[in-house]
């Protein structure tokens, strides 16, 4: 049985009629009070998983318990526990921020006497107090996301699902939202299930990360552990002349396995080698590079190691697939 504030998923499958198997047998556990980052490119199955866990879609197979309740058999109990901000900040452009909060508070069963105070508290908390009585159609993308978060919090949920909450946001709005999510976990003990396609977001926010690709979890663990699994750093060189690219790639291949990158030439270093070894060799061979950089393993390296593609490449691939289908 899943712990009261936790999430437990076993063999979850979701197939669309005439469509692909969007979620293909995933298992995962989220501990109470944990921020779990669900990382993957577009079309990987992140949003479908969220829709199943939040009771909006029934699974084709497998089980999922949220807060101790089965998402299929105990949907209303699950919904009573969770707050959800879906990928599309579905707001009514003709209502004000306060109208939205009032409606949400009523539908979530907040006693009438508490609604106005709760709305004010949340508007203040997400920095929308000054814009509370403006129609949402005049809000920026960041303001809409913040209002969406406030709406998800109206009934003080114990588990929060955020589906790509910062997609399309400017860096300032993004970091403000990160702070709020971190605060919710720290001060209120809220469990957070966060999907993202941003490596940095998963790295900064999540206690643990699950990496999903083509509906399957290909890696799971703390960001540090996942990166440690990759272990070795990579060296990235930018040739001075484009025509030297192949020659430099062949040269660097002597020091490790080549990496598929678009902007530079890169290799994952063999054990025991460091930047100084490369610099010396480059100097001795008279190889002409503009820039040479040693990078610690990132989650993108983890994704690359597990799927053979970079996250960016996977996103482009998914977009191309979508265009081909559509």
């Amino acid at each position: 049985m899943a712990p009261p504030n936790g999430i437990e998923v076993e063999g979850l499958v979701r197939e669309y009629r005439k469509g692909p198997r969007a979620v293909d047998g995933i298992d995962l556990t989220v501990a109470p009070g944990e921020i779990y980052g669900f990382l993957g490119p577009n079309g990987a199955g992140k949003s479908t998983t969220v829709h199943v866990l939040t009771t909006l879609l029934p699974p084709t197979a497998g089980t999922a318990r949220v807060g101790g309740y089965d998402v299929v058999r105990e949907g209303p109990k699950v919904r009573a526990l969770i707050g959800v901000a879906l990928q599309e900040a579905a707001l009514d452009p003709l209502l004000t921020g306060r109208d939205h909060l009032r409606l949400q508070a009523t539908l979530q069963g907040i006693p009438k006497a508490e609604r106005a105070a709760r709305a004010d508290e949340l508007l203040e908390r997400v920095g929308l107090a000054d814009a509370a009585d403006r129609k949402v159609q005049g809000y920026s993308g960041g303001m809409k996301r913040r209002l969406d978060l406030a709406l998800a919090l109206v009934h003080r949920p114990r588990i929060l699902f955020l589906d790509e909450p910062t997609t399309g946001l400017d860096p300032q709005s993004r970091s403000a939202l990160w702070e709020e999510v971190a605060r919710l976990r720290r001060e209120d003990g809220v469990t957070v299930f966060l999907t993202t396609q941003y490596l940095e977001e998963a790295d900064v926010l999540a206690d643990r990360v699950g990496i999903i690709d083509h509906g399957r979890i290909v890696a799971e663990g703390t960001p540090a552990a996942l990166k440690a699994e990759i272990g070795r750093p990579s060296v990235h060189a930018i040739p001075r002349r484009e025509e030297d690219r192949e020659r430099i790639a062949a040269f660097l291949a002597r020091f490790g396995e080549p990496l598929a990158t678009t902007r530079d030439v890169a290799v994952r270093l063999r054990d025991g080698l460091g930047l100084t070894d490369i610099v010396r060799a480059i100097d001795a061979a008279g190889v002409d590079v503009v820039d040479l950089e040693l990078r610690a393993p990132s989650l993108d390296d983890v994704f690359l190691a597990k799927t053979g593609r970079t996250l960016e490449g996977a996103a482009e691939e998914a977009e191309a697939e979508q265009q081909a289908v559509g």
Binding site: P58, L95, D99, Q104, T106
Partner: protein
């Protein structure tokens, strides 16, 4: 942690309030249903006034005869607007937001229809005011006004449910807009501009006789120009209620399918 579920009445009220606020904040949703039917009535009244001289025409005021049309036409406008608004909610994911609350399925439909009915009542009062201001003598008197408003409630709810059904079924505002001409064909092939017994073209008279919209118009018309015609009232209420008896369950089923929560 969530407090006990909101009372159903409160839920219906909250959804109805949102529907009304949305409508009030969109002049394009309020003004055309009020102005266009009245403008069409004025044009028809000016052009067809002489038809009151036909033997058997039930009144000497074509305006009194034509005043029934805005009531039905306005309801059709409301159907379109309500349906389009709901379809937008489906398209934007707002319905998913509602699905994630403790909102009961039927409370969403009831709230939405309550908003449409409130707008329908405002429209009915407006058309009535226009009629009285232009000298139409409302033969059924104050009690007739009450019956007329009750009829506005039934028609708005029935056609509003039809719009809701289409919205939940298709999830497309464009699909609902595409229905608009179809509904208007029903309006035009009816006793909109002449009593059925005075329509000279056989196929048109037959079509108008088979068309339920004729009986809905004649129900309103009877209150305005005749007083109390129980048969006309029964047929008008009967057909409007029949639309509702079909459209409300259809809308309810389509809503349950659309709100695919476990």
């Amino acid at each position: 942690m969530r407090a006990p579920s909101a009372g159903t009445v409160e839920q219906v009220g909250a959804i109805a309030r949102r529907s009304l606020v949305r409508t009030a904040r969109q002049p394009a949703s309020v003004i055309p249903p009020l102005v266009f039917p009245v403008a069409l009535m004025a044009v028809n009244a000016a052009g067809l006034a002489s038809s009151t001289r036909l033997p058997g025409f039930p009144t000497d005021s074509f305006l009194a005869f034509a005043l029934a049309v805005p009531f039905i036409q306005g309801a059709l406008f409301s159907t379109m607007n309500a349906g389009t608004d709901l379809a937008r909610d489906v398209q934007t994911g707002f319905v998913n937001r509602l699905a994630l609350t403790a909102l009961r399925d039927w409370a969403l439909l009831a709230g939405q229809l309550a908003g449409v009915v409130a707008l329908g009542l405002v429209q009915a009062l407006f058309y009535l005011a226009v009629g009285l201001a232009t000298g139409v003598d409302f033969r059924a008197g104050p009690a007739g006004v009450a019956v007329l408003l009750a009829y506005a409630v039934v028609v708005s709810a029935s056609f509003g449910a039809l719009g809701a059904y289409l919205a939940f079924r298709t999830g497309s505002g464009e699909a609902i807009q595409a229905l608009f001409p179809v509904l208007f064909v029903f309006l035009f092939i009816s006793s909109m501009n002449a009593p059925r017994n005075l329509i000279g073209v056989d196929w048109f008279r037959t079509a108008a006789t088979l068309n339920p919209v004729s009986y809905m118009l004649e129900c309103v018309r009877s209150l305005i120009i005749e007083g109390w015609d129980i048969q006309a009232l029964a047929l008008g209420f009967g057909f409007a209620a029949a639309v509702g008896l079909v459209s409300v369950p259809l809308a309810s089923r389509a809503l349950r399918t659309r709100l695919t929560r476990t």
